[in-house]
Structures are given as C-alpha cells and as structure tokens.
Subunit: 340 residues, 2 copies
C-alpha cells in the first residue's frame, strides 16, 4: 500500500462550529499557514455551515467569507483552499466570489437523498475551474444502493470526487465499508469519506473507507468539529502512515500545529460527551449539538430527550426550527405530567 491519499483538513470550517464561528481572519491565516507547511492537500475554511452560513439561523461568524478567504489565500502556498457550499444557504454568486478570491476547491453538499439540488452548483463550480467535490451528508440514513443512485447524479453533473459524509457520526466500520465499496464499484471518480467521532470510530471508519478504496479523507486538528468532532488530523495521519499509506504530510509539523497553534485557541476540548454520543447513537445531525443544548436550557428539558426525538422524526439539516418545536413539546409534556 503506497497509494497517495488526499487529505482535506477542515479545522477552519467544520472546526468553526466548536468556536461558534469566531476564529478571526488572522487566526485562520496562522492555522492555515501551519497546515500548508505540514503538507495537507486541501484546507477547507469558512463558516461551519459553508458560504453565506453567517446568519441569524446558523450564527454569525467573526468575519465575512471574503475576509477569511483573503486572509488565508494570502498565506497558503502549496495547498488548495476549499469552500463548502450548501445549496439553499450559499448561492452561485457566493461561489463565483470565492473562486475570484482564490478558492480552488468547492465542496457542494446536500442531504444524502437530495443530490438533485446540486446540479447547477456542481456545473458552475466546474466551469469556474474548481476541483469539485460532491458531499452526500447524513450518509447513515440510506443504504449503499440509494447512495450510489445519488452519487451517480453528482458524477453526471461533473463532480470530480464524491464523498460519503457521516455527518452524525452514526456509522460503524462495516457500514462505511458497504457504502464506499458500492460507490467504488459503480462510479468512475474517486471516493471520499468524512467522519465524525460520535461513536468513537472516526479514525477507525476512515481506515475502513481507505481499505475499500476511498482516496480522499478528511480530518481536523485536535478533532475540532461539530458534535464529537472529526477524525483528528494528526492522529489520522499517524494511523495512515503506520498502515502504509502515503499522505505527503509531515507528522511532526501537524502535531506541532495541533498542540501549539490550535489547542490554545480551542474554547473546549473535543471529547465525546453525553450529548455527542447520543447524536451518534440517535443518528441526528452533528451541528444540532449546540442548538439542542441551548433549547434544552431555555425550555428546561433534557437535551438527550430532544435529540432522540429528532432522530425518530428523521430531522435533517435545514430543519433546525424543529429543535425548538421538540424542546417546547417536551416541556409541555413534562408540565402535563407534573400537573397530573
């Protein structure tokens, strides 16, 4: 196994969730520069919910997409800078602006059953000359057959890579293997895998994906990311090197960046607490994490109860308003119970 694996680090995009999108442009530039010097292939940046994510709905980021892209593209010499685009949140206009500012990769993300809505975004991204990645989120909610169906759409629109995205950290290695193997069989483009660590298997799942032929994998320094966080880049790279894969990364520099540049900027350690674990177990969206905590406090209910109920209702990204509904309903149910 001497295959070169393409590493995307998402400390500065998925990791933004854990600092409420408050990295400053100069902090981003410092971290991006360290990642660049560590040999990471792709550095994803911006608001946790992608281009134009800065809003009342998703929380305002410290700076604008433009400010972040300018700061980062100015210091990154070797890596490609990526942006995330969730159709419905970001627009084609945002994508054009990002490309003009120096983004070289667009990751166009939809719910696992909604690839249709990515058509114009993927096509535009290709026209802009960007490396274009299709991101099928909440991949645990559908089996291999349906995922293949959706991934084929993205391939037909021109995507260069398609990712199995375990947004809720709800997959186990066998589930990852089945999905990646099916895509490898059915598609002619490289397959990627994006892990979350809610069930403690972010790195284990990443190894499983690689064993089935995935060649693009994601991580973040110190594991920073929504919910229980991502595969921890420096740990993942160590594991990959030990398993015989080539990443092109300098492990010592990654370790240094994680410990001395990123860790001091974290507002909390990236652990698997009860809410994050239930997210993985209940299979709901990792970015619901903080929303559920806040709603639980507001309505005086158990955040775990909210998340388990959301899982039952198969709530997906974009339906964050239901978090409040569920919290309110649970608080009512509790009051009725108390009265009775």
């Amino acid at each position: 196994m001497t295959q070169k694996i393409t590493i995307t680090d998402s400390t500065l995009r998925d990791g933004m969730h854990t600092v409420r999108h408050q990295f400053t442009p100069s902090e981003m530039a410092e971290i991006a520069s360290a990642l660049d010097q560590s040999g990471v292939d792709i550095i994803e940046i911006g608001h946790g919910d992608g281009l134009a994510g800065s809003s009342y709905q998703y929380g305002f980021s410290f700076a604008s997409d433009e400010e972040y892209l300018k700061a980062v593209c100015h210091v990154v010499k070797q890596a490609k800078v990526a942006v995330l685009l969730l159709p419905g949140i970001g627009t084609l206009k945002d994508l054009h602006a990002a490309a003009e500012l120096g983004a070289k990769v667009a990751r166009v993300a939809t719910h696992v059953t909604e690839a249709d809505i990515s058509e114009q975004h993927i096509k535009s991204s290709k026209q802009l000359g960007l490396l274009t990645v299709g991101f099928l989120m909440m991949a645990h909610m559908e089996g291999p057959e349906r995922i293949v169906e959706e991934a084929k759409k993205m391939e037909s629109y021109g995507a260069d890579v398609v990712y199995v995205t375990d947004s809720a950290g709800a997959l186990l290695p066998d589930g990852v293997r089945a999905r990646v193997a099916a895509l490898r069989e059915a598609l002619n483009i490289p397959i990627g895998f994006h892990a979350h660590n809610n069930l403690g298997v972010a790195v284990g799942n990443t190894l499983a994906a690689l064993a089935e032929g995935a060649t693009y994998v994601d991580g973040s320094l110190r594991g920073m990311g929504a919910g229980a966080g991502n595969a921890q880049t420096e740990v993942m790279v160590a594991a990959l090197h030990k398993a015989g894969y080539q990443t092109g990364c300098d492990l010592n520099q990654l370790i240094h960046a994680a410990e001395h540049i990123v860790a001091p900027k974290m507002s909390r350690p990236q652990i698997i607490d009860s809410v994050a674990l239930i997210l993985g177990y209940a299979g709901v969206y990792s970015s619901f994490f903080l929303h559920a905590k806040r709603a639980a406090e507001k309505f005086g209910v158990d955040p775990l109860a909210i998340l388990v109920e959301l899982g039952k209702r198969r709530v997906v990204g974009g339906q964050e308003d239901q978090i409040i509904d569920v919290a309110y309903e649970l608080s009512l149910a509790r009051k009725e119970k108390t009265v009775v």
Copy 2:
C-alpha cells in the same frame, strides 16, 4: 449477532493513572456503585499498576488496596470486582488478601513475551476460586505466532481468559484482527481485548476484536486511562449495541455515570495530545506518559524525543528508570550540540 459480550470497566484501575492514583475510597465506591447499577460485568479497581503498585516507583495511591477493596466490595451487588496483578509488583500474599476482601477476578499481567512468570500467580488465583484472566501486555511488539505461544502457557496454567492487551495503543484494526484470530484458532478459552486510544482507534480496534471472536472487552468511563486512555465505556457500549452485540449494560445509566459522576472528578479531559499520539506511534508503554512529561520538564528536553528513543530501545514496563536515563542523555546531547 446476539452474543453476550463480557464488559470489564477499568475506570477505577487504568483510570487511576489519570488522577495520579488519588481517587478516595468513597469516590471509588460511588463510581463502582454506578457501574454496578449500569450492568457492567466486571469492575477493576486499585492502583493503576495493580496490587501493591502504591510505591515510590509508581506513585502512592490515596488509599491502600485493602481500603479500596473494602469500600467497593461493600457497595457492589451484581458485578464481579477485579484486581490487577503484575508479578514483580504484586505478590501472592497481596492476591490472597484481595480474595479475602471480596475480589472475584484476578487479571494477571505480564509483558507479551513473559507469560512464564505468571505461572504461580495464575495457579494460585485459580486455587482461590477467582475468575483468572491472563493479560499479555504490549501486544503490538510481537506477531500472532509468538502471542499464541505465550497465551498457550497462560491457558496451560489454568487461565480462564487470555487478553490481547494493546498497552501502548499502537495497534491498528488489522493488527488486532490478526492477533485475536490466531488466539481463537489456537486456544480453547475465551479471548479478550484491552484497547488504548493513542491512535484514535480504541473503539475501532475493539469492534475488530469482536468481529474475530473476542468475547471479553474493556473500557473506562470518559476513556479514563493511561496515555490517551482506554475505549470509552459508554461510547463502546453504544457502538456494540448498534453493531448488534449484547452487553447487558444500560446505556443511559452508563452515560449518566460518565457525565455526572466521573467527569466532575477528572483532573484533565481524556484527549489525544502530542505525547499520547507519539506513544502510540512510537509504540511505548502508555503509563510512561506522565513520567516522560516530568522527566522532560526536569531535564529541559522534548518529551516526544524521549518517547521516540524509548520506542527504539524497545523499553517495556518495569524499565521506567530508563526514562530518566534517556532524558539525561538527550539533555547532554543537546548541551554538546550547543557548545559545538
């Protein structure tokens, strides 16, 4: 897969490393009681280095083995209480005392190539009527053939179970599979697996071990343990349930115990920092973690450099004195370099 897996929780033994062995007997009793009510099969307690570990060499624990055993055995109703015995640290006398105080399981641990020294301890443990577990530590240092050879010795002495113990957190899932599969093939007793999370795969490795037929696995609440810690019990059980295994554990109670009883007592979050990662990558003993940090501070050298050098020298448990030697040599080498 409806097989019953035997869960051993080591929060109160391996986890003792992370609080410098300072849990009080009443804290131990509180945590043990919560574990007992959660349905865990075996609760391992005591100094991190086992019976009689409390010493200048390994650090003094808050209380004695006797005080811990009395406090815990008094409150545990369903689970079996286990002690760890490292021949050379603990003695037969300690084992007899533990059995009299209510321990029902002895885990007799040796370096992976040193099963010979466990003969009288395993035989005595059996005579005392204890469930007797052979623990082959630093299992990454030898391949399946040699591990089978050593495990067969433990089986011949009367061990009821033999564990593949990844003390340094240096194995990846494939390495775990190969070792567990070889033992399953060669032995007539159940096989166990004890993970450390230095490469981020404690839960992933545990699932790999189970897939190859291991039926005993270990964890600790919040992952508390030497180095990067163990498989996080509540996360591991969630993953096992999701994978279709029966553990007999109540996941909600485990989550509650982790978050509300254990987490407030932790002196640091159990994360994979640079030293822990290098431990897994360099393949040296997880309990070297704090020793190396202290030696590094004392001699003004890089803790990573100490650990990588220890890995090269294949230093094992009991050779902790070499940590100081290496730190001292590195400090000399640096001075010479500075002078030149």
